[in-house]
């Protein structure tokens, strides 16, 4: 039987390093995916994955008080990603540079056999979505990503971002309004 997250967290806080390794393997893809969406490149996403878990490990004594491990770990990853976004800003933001899109990695969209033209179209669409998201301030962008891309509910996002649900709603509304304007051609 697969162990539940609370069971793993309990074992981890009791000092079981295998439980920690299992938590890493259960959450690393989720965190990588989110961080990649926020930062737009593999290197930064990788840094977020590593640093988030090292921080979870350091904060293990706090875990007894944590009611929702998912929100806890996603919050750490989100906060670190926001820090990186701010750090990268002014350093010629990596995510908005299309030449740095990894050309050799398999794009999920084009997993089915696709023509080079479709492949090109997919990449162009991905880049367009990313650029649109990059125009938003970090909190709005992350709210939109968590909700519309990663599928978290509004109460979950409120917990992750440590803000009232009303703030989540208004950030999401503003983000969507801006994105609808920017991506207008793609929406008709």
């Amino acid at each position: 039987m697969t162990e539940t997250i609370p069971e793993l967290v309990k074992r981890f806080t009791e000092g079981d390093s295998d439980a920690f390794a299992e938590l890493v393997s259960r959450y690393q893809k989720k965190i990588y995916h989110l961080a990649y969406q926020i930062l737009g490149n593999h290197l930064d996403a990788d840094e977020v994955v590593q640093e988030s878990f090292v921080r979870v490990y350091r904060k293990r004594k706090d875990l007894a008080r944590v009611t929702n491990f998912t929100s806890f770990v996603i919050r750490i990853a989100t906060n670190y990603s926001i820090d990186l976004v701010r750090k990268r800003r002014g350093h010629n933001q990596v995510s908005s540079d299309p030449t740095l899109m990894p050309g050799d990695v398999q794009v999920e969209l084009s997993k089915n056999v696709s023509t080079p033209r479709e492949d090109f179209e997919n990449k162009r669409l991905m880049e367009e979505i990313r650029r649109a998201l990059d125009t938003l301030p970090p909190r709005q962008k992350i709210t939109a990503l968590l909700h519309d891309v990663e599928g978290y509910s509004k109460p979950e996002i409120a917990e992750i971002l440590e803000c009232p649900e009303a703030t989540v709603r208004s950030n999401l509304h503003i983000a969507r309004t801006k994105l609808k304007k920017i991506l207008k051609k793609r929406l008709s």
Binding site: G15, S17, F20, A21, V24, S25, Q28, K29, Y32, H33, Y36, Q37, H42, D46, V49, Q50, F53, V54, Y57, R58, K59, R60, K61, D62, M101, P102, V105, Q106, V107, E108, L109, L125, M126, I129, R130, A144, H147, D148, V149, K154, R169, L172, H173, R176, L179, K180, L183, K184, R186, L187, S188
Partner: protein, 189 residues
């Protein structure tokens, strides 16, 4: 339903958060209002567009590699703090930073009491101050020692008890008030 009401419910509608009666009213409004329908359609289209996968898969070996790196940076680099069952798992008396800290406090207390005692009997005030200063230096080195690895240290209840006892005899807050706050020493960042 008015356009205003519909607009206020639009996102909840698009996110499937309305109750059935509100859904029925919203649908009814859409039948007769082109502007709201267009707005609603574009919200749904945006949600659809954003759900387009835009994250390329990393190399197949990446997940195992990154798990290894994380374990190396956390568990393996601080494995002595993961107390496993068995007598060998506990660090020796003088290996423990807590023991060192406790001894350090004890030493500084001894010096402090000596300073006060001697001061009362026959030493000059200057000597007393010098010795008190020495005690403060000793004490601050203990603080530095504790702070330097408090983040990585998993105090056991006995450790905490020893530390509390040790700090209690240091008396009221003041010059060393900071030391009496146990949470300072055991809390995390």
């Amino acid at each position: 339903m008015t356009c205003r009401t519909f607009q206020s419910l639009l996102e909840s509608f698009a996110d499937n958060e309305l109750d059935p009666s509100q859904v029925a009213q919203a649908r009814e409004h859409l039948k007769s209002c082109d502007i709201c329908r267009e707005e609603y359609t574009s919200t749904l289209a945006l949600k659809q567009l954003l759900s387009t996968p835009t994250v390329p898969d990393p190399d197949p070996g990446y997940w195992d590699e990154v798990t290894d790196l994380i374990l190396a940076r956390s568990v393996r680099s601080t494995s002595e703090y993961f107390r496993e069952p068995g007598p060998a798992a506990r660090p020796g008396l003088f290996d423990s930073s807590l023991t060192r800290a406790t001894l350090s406090v004890a030493a500084s207390l001894a010096i402090l009491f000596m300073a006060l005692f001697l001061g009362e009997t026959h030493e000059s005030q200057a000597d007393r101050i010098a010795m008190t200063e020495q005690a403060m230096i000793e004490t601050s080195s203990m603080v530095a020692l504790i702070n330097s690895d408090s983040e990585e240290t998993m105090w056991t209840p006995e450790d905490q008890q020893r530390l509390t006892g040790c700090l209690t005899i240091m008396g009221p807050p003041g010059m060393m008030g900071r030391l009496t706050d146990l949470s300072d020493l055991t809390g995390v960042e």
